[in-house]
């Protein structure tokens, strides 16, 4: 099935190779970024939605 795709690629193959290279480069850069992030920071970030509400609503104004 995949043979058909490679055969059907007409015109500019350089475009496809160029796009693939850009993507690989991009993917490697993001992966390096991820590896360089430390665990405490990750924990801090992922806890953010859980620590944003204030239990005290007594001062809130009502409509």
């Amino acid at each position: 099935m995949f043979k058909q795709f490679t055969e059907n690629i007409s015109g500019n193959q350089a475009y496809l190779l160029f796009s693939l290279c850009i993507f690989l480069l991009f993917f490697i850069v993001v992966t390096i970024m991820l590896i360089r992030i430390r665990k405490p920071h990750i924990d801090h970030m992922s806890d953010m939605p859980l620590h944003d509400s204030q239990p005290d609503l007594s001062n809130s104004s009502k409509q």
């Binding site: 796009s19 991820l34 509400s53 204030q54 001062n59 809130s60 409509q63």
Partner: protein, 707 residues
Amino acid sequence: MQPEKFYYDNKIVRDFGIATVLWGIIGMTVGLIAAIQLYHPGANMHNQYTTFGRIRPLHTNAVIFAFVGNAIFMGVYYSLQRLLKARMFSDVLSKIHFWGWQLIIVSAVITLPLGLTTSHEYAELEWPIDIAITIIWVVFGFNMFGTIFKRRERHLYVAIWFYIATFVTIAVLHIVNSFELPVSAFKSYMVYAGVQDALVQWWYGHNAVAFFLTTPYLGMMYYFLPKMANRPVYSYKLSILHFWALIFIYIWAGPHHLLYTTLPGWAQSLGVAFSIMLIAPSWGGMINGLLTLRGAWDKVRDDVILKFMVVALTAYGMATFEGPMLSLKQINSIAHFSDWIIAHVHVGALGWNGFLTFAVLYWLIPRIYKTELFSKKLASFHFWIGTLGIIFYAVPMYWAGFTQSLMLKEFTPEGMLKYPNFLETTLQILPMHVMRSVGGAMYLLGVIVMAYNLLRTAKQGSLVANEAAQAMPLEPVHTIARESAWHRRLERKPIQLMVAALFVILIGTFIELMPTLTISSNIPTIASVKPYSSLELQGRDLYIREGCSNCHSQTVRPFRSETERYGEYSKAGEFVYDHPFLWGSKRTGPDLARIGGKYGNAWHYNHLMDPRLMSPGSIMPEYSWLLTQNLDTTTTRAKIHAMRTLGVPYPVGYENQANADLDEQAKAIAADLAKDHIKVKSNKEVIAIIAYLQRMGMDIKANKTTK
């Protein structure tokens, strides 16, 4: 340092919530009416303003920009304030944003039934409304970034990156796809023509799905799902990876909407390759969502909100697996133009967008009203009727899609088309269309029950319009140690983050769009293709007004089943004067690219008056108003002038002669109709649309030499 006291603005969240439910009911009701017309054409109430071609765009615009749009703003305004520990930047901007957006929707509700449309799918609104959308979108961005700048939390949570990417990409998409030359207050021509216009449109159309229906919802998922399940997201690193990969890859995939058309082959292949790659980041998001519920699956049994989330994520996973599969050429050749695509988009829209919206509403409304949900039983009923509704909608549509496509492709042993009459295949799938509308009605009923439930919830509580909160102010940046990790630094720099996201989406945009827009060899010209006559041009604009392209394509793909049925396959050079292109994306009726000369003028006249006279059982609506309304020829001058500005080679000064030519051609058609005992004045709209229909494909038939 002392903690600062401040208040979250819940009123704006509530307002967007009300708008979400209200427009959701309206948009889905319009969809239901449109669905019924596909087996009972009389459901248009014999009225031009409520006919399928005009209300189908109303349905799509209402559910995408009104229902989902308001839900996005509801989710963003709630989560952004809390993730940044700050009130929205400006209450005035919030209000302008809210009322401006509602006004845009109201203008769509008025203009689309009037037939004021650009015909670009999901971008049908005419140029003055496009400008209003731009202004309101900037107001939203200003308000969002203002809030980010006054935040009390240094790092931006992943949900906010999704919101930033949404903001910047939608701005780029909207502007590039709105390059129109105004002809009058509510009529414009697209600057691009033919293949180029198609490429820009589907680059836009595909990424509207990506950056309006997907990225803001992923952002909402990353905020609301951890709150609903009371546990952090499964993998924060995965969320970073899939964010960057998703926005990078999505932007390339648009050409998969144009497979087997006259778009250059390399652009099609590029679109297919990146569509396949899209499975990875899409499933990254789905898996991250579902695994967030690890260890909490017992809660799913009792908590209807989590049930909605599980179905939403499952639907997202199914739709994003199916999408790449549909972009494979072999599968696409069957699925494209058929009801299969309708099933595909509705799994995404009803399941992912709809159910996630309902979950957020059920979670959020009781909280801002400081009460409990009025009835869990009703919410549970909503969940089940909604889920069944999706199944009853999608399964018949899949069935209809396979059936019709395979019938259209079937040959007899002698090598003739087995079903040469398109209508035969349509009649075969009508029962499926009836079932689909039942599914849609069930889903809509669920939404109405939800509206009642939320209304009662609001009544039993009272709105906490300004919710008190406190947080430490941010220290100045120079006092904190330099952060070594790049990404950690990026997370506290919103503008750099926006620029990075913009850069990432522009890579794919440039590589994909630029060659087709700038290199002329990509569009071989055909010597015999001439500009439309003034009457044909007016007829073409009526074709656009009536939304004919919602059901009829104008591009013949290079398959034997299509060349046998419709004629020679389409060439890029045929469309060079088509501002806008009218290829369509769905064949509810047959392709019209080669309709010219196939039937006589009288056939078209009778067919437009009552399609069932000529094709018994046809589901096409009657266009009786075309027979009585006079053609507006005051616009001819401006239209010819605009077309020449866009590069269509009308001679200089042709404006002065255009209406005389128009009259002459119209009289000839009226005289021809008179021979068949049809008495009609030459100034009626039907004459113009017949002229256009008779022109389609004639250039190629006249002369087959290409240079």
